[in-house]
């Protein structure tokens, strides 16, 4: 639609293709990721403040809602410092790469049945793979900073993300086994109807296997939630940026807009992983009670409702991440590895095998 419009406007299909492609690429950034990150930072500060008997930002706007906008404006204006001994090329690429990794994941996230960046058949696989770029960015940042704290932080981060991708992948694989699809859109479509069709409650249909699946699904959910926490470096797994040990880990040396990109990537990532959890276990964009649009006979209302439900579910898990962050202490590096390799991965494997057996029933 947009493409045709630009072809009419410019009379050149190449130019129209480029421009409409660019617009499509930037659309989610400006319509969702940026507003979300601003909102999430504000929410984080408010959640932490209220958990700690404080008020948090109150001065700029109603309950300080404009505070993060002001912060971002300040970060944009700041001097871009590159220290003398930094590896300039890697130092400059790293934040972009990190941000690109988490940004690209949004392409395959189904916000509603009608609003998906790209409907990939390999959606699950694509998201896990593309967020792997973040690892490269973090490692680059740590190495290029030429700072011992940054290096330690990035080394820890890489070890952590790589180890926790395995349980995440195993759980997603079990979902793929049940549903027979890797497309997040199809996965969400399968969970249509009411709350008992969600995969956390055994998936659609009323068969014996559904009830057998329920405990396994809860285990799977716990595993994937814990490992996604580790993948996005949130407490209790915020070891890469443990401020009491490593100052702030891999982004110690960054300032201004480059720092903001790491920051943005972190919050975008928080939503991305929450969205995956919501999409595979909690019905994706499906409403738990049926649609108002169907009730009143207004078809156009359904996508809006779906978008609302998906964002609400995603935000709920983001909120839980914040809740955990302000409650729990932080694990140590070796304990972190123990959690993954000695507990999560074996349990995830057993879970996978049991789910496979049930699927054969």
């Amino acid at each position: 639609m947009m493409y045709d419009f630009f072809v009419d406007l410019f009379g050149s299909s190449t130019l129209a293709g480029i421009i409409s492609g660019l617009i499509q690429a930037f659309l989610p950034l400006f319509t969702f990721i940026l507003p979300f990150a601003l909102f999430a930072v504000w929410l984080e500060r408010k959640v932490s403040a209220h958990m700690q008997d404080r008020l948090g930002p109150m001065r700029v706007g109603w309950h300080g809602w404009k505070q993060t906008i002001a912060d971002i404006l300040k970060l944009i204006q700041k001097e871009d410092i590159v220290a003398k001994d930094n590896d300039k090329l890697l130092f400059n690429i790293a934040p972009v790469l990190t941000f690109a990794g988490s940004y690209a994941a949004f392409a395959a996230i189904p916000f509603s049945g009608y609003f998906i960046g790209t409907e990939l058949d390999l959606g699950v696989f694509y998201i896990v793979a593309v967020t792997g770029l973040v690892v490269a960015g973090i490692l680059m940042a740590g190495w290029a900073s030429n700072n011992k704290y940054s290096l330690l932080g990035s080394m820890r981060s890489v070890a952590q993300i790589v180890s926790y991708e395995i349980p995440t992948m195993l759980v997603l694989l079990s979902l793929v086994m049940i549903s027979g699809t890797m497309s997040l859109h199809t996965l969400s479509e399968m969970q249509t109807g009411y709350i008992w069709n969600w995969f956390i409650l055994g998936g659609p249909g009323f068969t014996l296997s559904k009830f057998l699946l329920i405990p396994l699904m809860f285990t799977g959910f716990l595993i994937i939630y814990i490992s996604t926490l580790a993948e996005v470096n949130r407490t209790p797994f915020d070891i890469p940026e443990a401020e009491s040990e490593l100052v702030s880990g891999y982004h110690t040396e960054y300032s201004g807009m480059k720092f903001a990109m790491f920051f943005l990537a972190e919050y975008a990532n928080m939503f991305a992983v929450s969205a995956i959890v919501a999409a595979v276990f909690f019905g994706g964009y499906q409403s738990p009670f049926g649609y108002l649009g169907n009730l009143v006979g207004a078809e156009w209302l359904i996508p809006v409702e779906q978008f609302f439900w998906f964002t609400a579910k995603g935000l709920f898990f983001v909120f839980v991440q914040m809740w955990l962050r302000w409650t729990l202490p932080r694990l140590r590096v070796d304990q972190l590895m123990t959690t993954s390799w000695k507990y999560l991965i074996p349990i995830a494997f057993v879970n996978l095998i049991l789910i496979g057996l049930i699927t054969l029933l």
Partner: protein
């Protein structure tokens, strides 16, 4: 467990014939968890610590030399600035030493008020220790919970002497002025509010599984090492030694008050680990509440300034006076040459002694554990550097 890690690293690095070298990491003086301006020089083998060399002196203010140029009462405000989290205790120690040197008997009311102040200060100081320890481990919320309660204590001090941190309240022979009429009521209210809050902090942090995993069996300080190095206070008691100057060498009116000396029992790990040292402080706050309640009940009437000497000019001689500060044994060795100024004031700061064991108990643990251990020792750099 961590000791084994060291061995494994060494074995693997030899067997694979990869040339590895020790990394020197400077932790501080500008670091979020060195509790002030302390620089730790860490030798690292991967993330395993092979040596810890503390570099101190960033806060040196020539306290001891400066004392020689001042008259005896003028020293009091400078003692505040040593252990700035326990200023009342510092003044108390100086007053105890000076009164021993001068042979002054102070009124009972003064002694009780001093004890109440010192114990309130102990609670305030331990609250900072607990809060920052939580923050070191990564839990930030208990930090603010602790500071809310500490703020109430600082308010009590503020209505007493107008200052929140550096009081100049306990003078040689008495107090600068009497307590505020509301003080007794407000202190009782505080203690009533504080007990449930302490329980909340315990629920949130002390018995948290991750917190236990991080602190139990980490930085074990065997009782022999502790005694050999001269460690005192909660760090010594955490290792299981029931030693408290308030009980073993009673000063002021502590002998009339009933309280327990909590010691580390190795509840979740080895006796003398970081968790034990932490938990001793939690229990001590409870004991301090008991002491304050008793002291408030027994508080006699009287004048608090009657025994303050007009001019302090002790005979030639020397004295060692010590008190149990929140961080351990705080001692003042004062030499008098018969003039109005001290010939020499030597302070035995508990944190300085405690810091020496860092190298001893950090070896073989990881970088994250250095932070844990340093936090559990609860040092104050103002006192170490003086």
């Amino acid at each position: 467990m961590s000791q084994d890690l060291t061995k494994n690293t060494k074995v693997s690095s030899q067997s694979s014939k990869i040339r590895t070298e020790e990394m020197i990491l400077n932790m501080g003086p500008q670091h979020p968890s060195t509790h002030g301006v302390l620089r730790l020089e860490l030798g690292l083998e991967g993330e395993i610590v092979t040596k810890v060399i503390p570099h101190i002196g960033y806060l040196h203010r020539c306290f001891e030399k400066h004392c020689e140029a001042m008259t005896y009462p003028q020293v009091v405000p400078y003692t505040d600035r040593m252990d700035y989290l326990a200023s009342m205790g510092n003044e108390f120690g100086y007053a105890v030493a000076m009164e021993k040197l001068l042979g002054i008997e102070v009124p009972q009311r003064v002694e009780y008020i001093r004890v109440i102040m010192a114990e309130l200060q102990r609670i305030a100081s331990h609250l900072v220790a607990l809060g920052t320890y939580g923050a070191d481990i990564g839990a930030f919320t208990p930090f603010l919970f602790c500071f809310i309660d500490r703020e109430k204590i600082l308010h009590l001090f503020e209505i007493t002497c107008g200052a929140r941190l550096l009081y100049n309240y306990i003078w040689v022979g008495g107090l600068s002025h009497d307590i505020h009429p509301d003080f007794v009521r407000k202190t009782r209210e505080f203690i009533k509010e504080f007990r449930p809050n302490l329980k909340e902090i315990n629920d949130l942090l002390t018995h948290n599984r991750i917190f236990i995993d991080r602190t139990a069996n980490v930085g074990v300080l065997p009782i022999e090492t502790a005694i050999n190095f001269g460690v005192s206070g909660p760090n010594l008691r955490g290792s299981g030694m029931k030693w408290d100057i308030r009980r073993d060498d009673p000063y002021s009116v502590y002998s009339k008050l009933d309280f327990d000396i909590p010691v580390g029992k190795g509840t979740y790990g080895t006796t003398g680990d970081s968790w034990d040292r932490y938990f001793v402080r939690v229990l001590e706050m409870e004991e301090s509440c008991k002491i304050i309640e008793q002291a408030l009940d027994q508080l006699p009437e009287g004048d608090v300034t009657s025994a303050i000497p007009k001019r302090i000019k002790p005979n030639v001689g020397h004295v060692y006076g010590r008190v149990e500060n929140p961080r351990g044994e705080l001692g003042y060795f004062i030499v008098s040459d018969g003039s109005t100024s001290p010939y020499r004031v030597k302070v035995r700061p508990p944190s300085f002694v405690t810091l020496q064991i860092m190298d001893e108990i950090c070896k073989g643990y990881m970088v994250a554990d250095v932070v844990t251990i340093l936090g559990s020792l609860d040092i104050v750099l103002g006192e170490i550097d003086r």
